[in-house]
Symmetry: C2
Subunit: 341 residues, 2 copies
């Protein structure tokens, strides 16, 4: 249990950039130890300076190698870099991204690099919340750039990407027809497309497919772009703003090719978003996504905690088919939610 004194101490050491304090705070938040919310409350006002880059894309696209190269290039610019690796496919094992971490051992002794894999235990929504917490910790500790790497292209990863200022979507040639299947969700979050393994057959075709998708999307409308689960909750009327032209950057991460061009594209997007109106809108969206993640995560945690004892009984009834699951859920939730007045 964290006392307010020990939290204050941890926060001051964090602000001085002490690596061990960063590691401790991140573990504290990811493990959800008693008092982790108090820690986050203390850290939040100190954050807001870092540039957060989401890195998502299809498995097999070489994402981890690319992240490794980005870390190198950013370190060459003398920037402190944090990496938050999120693997929602492995909610219980935690060790799934060990391979990635081993690959990044070259940065192990560099105090300007901090790498943290999130175990992402728990229910949906918990991923975004842990990620946003660790981002604030790294931010408050003075990391200049934070790369948030996710493994797949599912809905929870898109939610994580929405916490970022700039989101890279990494693909590789030869996705074939399946590029169609994943296009809509990807267009919503991609600020920059990266075709990695661009020296392979089919790179040109993949770039053409993407260009076509981007131009179709532009023609249709800006409606729907960047929406999230929280979108229907509290969306103010939006001013007409210039629209970012999503670039496509080719890289061969294993040879370090295209990394500088990719960082230039990031700079370009950051520049674009520095327009006050764009920046304000983007900031409100990020805040909205974060609040929604915290709300839903807290709500579900409370539900699990409070229902603990009544669930086995409900499952027994369901097994005996004396009740249907919809009625069972209504009955259980009636005990949790306030009556509406």
């Amino acid at each position: 249990v964290a006392t307010s004194e020990s939290i204050n101490d941890l926060v001051s050491r964090l602000q001085r950039g002490e690596t061990r304090a960063v590691a401790r705070a991140a573990r504290f938040v990811d493990d959800r130890r008693d008092g982790f919310v108090d820690l986050l409350k203390a850290i939040y006002p100190l954050s807001g300076q870092a540039y957060v880059v989401g890195v998502t894309g299809t498995p097999g696209a070489g994402k981890s190698t690319l992240v490794d190269q980005l870390v190198r290039a950013l370190r060459a610019r003398a920037l402190k870099v944090g990496v938050v690796a999120v693997d929602p496919t492995s909610p219980y094992s935690g060790g799934a991204i060990l391979g990635d971490r081993i690959r990044m051992q070259r940065h192990f002794l560099d105090p300007g690099v901090f790498i943290r894999s999130l175990a992402t235990r728990g229910h949906l929504g918990g991923v975004s919340r842990s990620a946003s917490g660790v981002i604030h910790i790294l931010d408050a500790a003075g990391f200049d750039v934070i790369l948030v790497e996710t493994v797949g292209v599912g809905q929870d990863e898109l939610e994580v990407a929405r916490l970022a200022h700039t989101t890279l979507v990494i693909m590789s040639p030869g996705m074939g027809d399946d590029i169609q299947a994943i296009k809509a969700g990807i267009l919503e979050v991609a600020d920059i497309f990266v075709i990695n393994k661009a020296d392979r057959d089919g790179a040109d075709a993949t770039v053409r497919d993407l260009e076509q998708m981007i131009s179709l999307d532009r023609d249709v409308s800006v409606r729907g772009r960047g929406h999230s689960a929280a979108a229907t909750l509290a969306r103010p009327p939006e001013p007409e703003l210039g629209k970012w032209q999503t670039p496509i950057v080719r890289t061969v991460a294993t040879r370090g090719e295209g990394i500088d061009a990719l960082l230039e594209a990031c700079d370009g997007h950051r520049q674009f978003m520095s327009d006050p109106a764009q920046g304000k809108r983007a900031r409100r969206r990020r805040i909205e996504h974060e609040l929604y993640a915290i709300l839903s995560d807290t709500m579900l945690s409370e539900m699990e905690r409070r229902l603990g004892d009544s669930l086995p009984k409900a499952l027994d009834d369901l097994e005996r088919k004396t009740i249907d699951p919809y009625s069972a859920a209504e009955r259980l939730l009636a005990g949790l939610l306030r009556e509406e007045t």
Copy 2:
């Protein structure tokens, strides 16, 4: 708004297997029209006969072609086949899997095949709930086999897979190192691995990698396998049961190769699960996953509905930094949840 009379009418037409009634009920549930919960309550007792097969895997593995071939092979066995296509990467567009659906037009005039894509609007958890609802509808309408196809390998897709009796995980050669990154989550849900595009270079290496993963998993323990977000809620002590040896089937879906072997593997798994103790445990897990999906979806829907008006105000405060998001969330939720006694 559905009256109880119109629901009864829809349910009887559904039981007679009328395609239009099936389509209407599925749309009703996916759109969450008023009364959809009453419809599901009426349908639930009529379901429980169908064999539900989850089909998941990495984009680019040729999943949609494989599903198409499975439908053909099952139709050749004179079985009625339902396909529920879930695309959690596209929560707002709905049309993302149009390509797949076009490809399946060959079944369009066959009343023994019903295909439904879920728009999966809404928040996390809603996907599983809509999918389970449509599964019950198809089940009650007399479909023998229901294929639940998901697009990616994120956490919400794993949740969907957990609604199935048998889950296929489709991969293709050349995943490279990234196979490491996704292995843990996949091992948890895969009952059968399918290496599609097995005529390509690297198929042998991919099979070897998988075999190694499977044997490692077996050595470690059965602990953790099949766990879900709900696992910590209500897990009874489990008897020692025989463990299923996950087979690896090679297919070339574009040429229809390996499809019969795949169906045989499905039969084998179904046979294995017909052991009363295995079947009971698996059934309880499915019920548990379904109840959890319904609980969390209902909880979050209620949260969104009830917070509607107070959210913009909270976002304004967050923009002004007069509050942190953790305190804002606590304040908002205090108005929703009953006080604990």
